[in-house]
Subunit: 302 residues, 2 copies
Amino acid sequence: MILTVTLNAALDVTYQVPEIDWTGVNRVRSVHRRAGGKGVNVARVLHGLGREVLVTGLAGGPVGRAIEADLEAAGLPRALVPIAAESRTTLAVAGGGGGAALFNEPGPEVSEAELREFGRVYASLLERAEAVVISGSLPRGVPAGTYAELAALAAEHGVPAIVDADGAALRHAPVGRPAIVKPNAEELARAVPPHGHPVEGAEHLRARGAESVVVSLGEEGLYAVTPEGTFRARMPYRVEGNPTGAGDSLVAGLALGLVEGAAWPERLRTAAALGAAAVAAPVAGDFDRDVYARTHPLIEIT
Amino acid sequence: MILTVTLNAALDVTYQVPEIDWTGVNRVRSVHRRAGGKGVNVARVLHGLGREVLVTGLAGGPVGRAIEADLEAAGLPRALVPIAAESRTTLAVAGGGGGAALFNEPGPEVSEAELREFGRVYASLLERAEAVVISGSLPRGVPAGTYAELAALAAEHGVPAIVDADGAALRHAPVGRPAIVKPNAEELARAVPPHGHPVEGAEHLRARGAESVVVSLGEEGLYAVTPEGTFRARMPYRVEGNPTGAGDSLVAGLALGLVEGAAWPERLRTAAALGAAAVAAPVAGDFDRDVYARTHPLIEIT
């Protein structure tokens, strides 16, 4: 089983409004609600590939129960730890013209006791895990070093961890000696001293404890700096679509390669193809199987 | 106990966003969630006045559970009938400049079986009711004559009904011989043939079966056309604030007068003062006790 951790699970809501009146009353034509957060999206992709997954994290209030209900409906096994505060909602208001405004709620504040309880549940879930993916933002009240601690706990259980984070959580993550840290180029630039090339930035994170670092460059492909050497994946062509969720799909590919013991070039090929296939799918957590099958053999690894 | 019926119960959500970017990503500074729908607001006002109330209606899905949880938190007794579809959310996005955009979800579709089950629950609740307030919009799948049927069922139990509705539901309502129908001037104009004066419009609804008709005119006060005669309430001064929920507060005042057996002039005074006191309160379902106390003796009844 691949465990995915989403400490700041969300309910992703999309309103379709044909003609938006930003100062008046709008009738919403359709409403879509879906459990979200980066770890949930990673689990969806792995589940779609037929892998056994388990979603853990924190969820609270009626919105937390809506997240649970949607995971249930999607057939995604879960072990979410309840919190008192209400989980966050993200709202996209999409108009007829194709534009969208996004509203991100501040999200819950997590208590020390709740975080301790999560640690207890997490440690027990590690007993059954082949790999763990720790990704997304930290809710308020959760210390920046938490992902490092979760990765270290996984390492103690012999479970390789992948961390996909930003900001302080990313800066601290290598201390936990995760198997893979996956920033994109902007996140990497914010987390390490100025560097001329993404590979130099990645080496900073490796020097701090990360075994391998994969830097995603959007349509420019990927760099992987690993004990086996440095690799680059280049995309065969540009895939049009929605980049939201592409990073999560890419991380799912890295997790797959990790549990299958694939060599780095093959891991990268799978990750890059899943990233492209997610761009071709309209919703985060989905991927286009045709694009995946078509892109996979064409990705160039050097 | 005063029973309030809210067939289209809602979760009223307000986002405060300091500077709204209608084409980009917004951090929501604060989120307020509150059970709503006109019958819920009426119950809040009556509860605030120390009256025993019971909220009934339909609620479904995670949003329905959020509505239940908020009623619980507010100490409002309830007997909501569950439905399969998800209850509606109304969202107000309020910017720093004071403006707000409103988004109304299409809301649930109710099945015949669910509506029958509601009828069964409603009939049993009438056994304990002194009065029933039936108000707000009808969810999809609920026939326009439903409020008339609910009022007729109340009459069979000897329970006076107040109906506050719009459109087809208002046009049908008098058939159920409700004690009071409460449209505002615009709703009345849409529901009856063209008339020169609100009192003439009210007489149309009385001719169809309504015992009394109260027409609210906003800051212009109220007309009541009743078996005891026709009365007008005039406001002593203009109250500044938020008119959302003023109609519900006014209806709470009418219900109070009904169960207390107050004469029409006194009922109107209470209703008009509660309407004004709701304008002075920022949130629907609340009212300003000082404004209520100050306005009440000054309202002129003719």
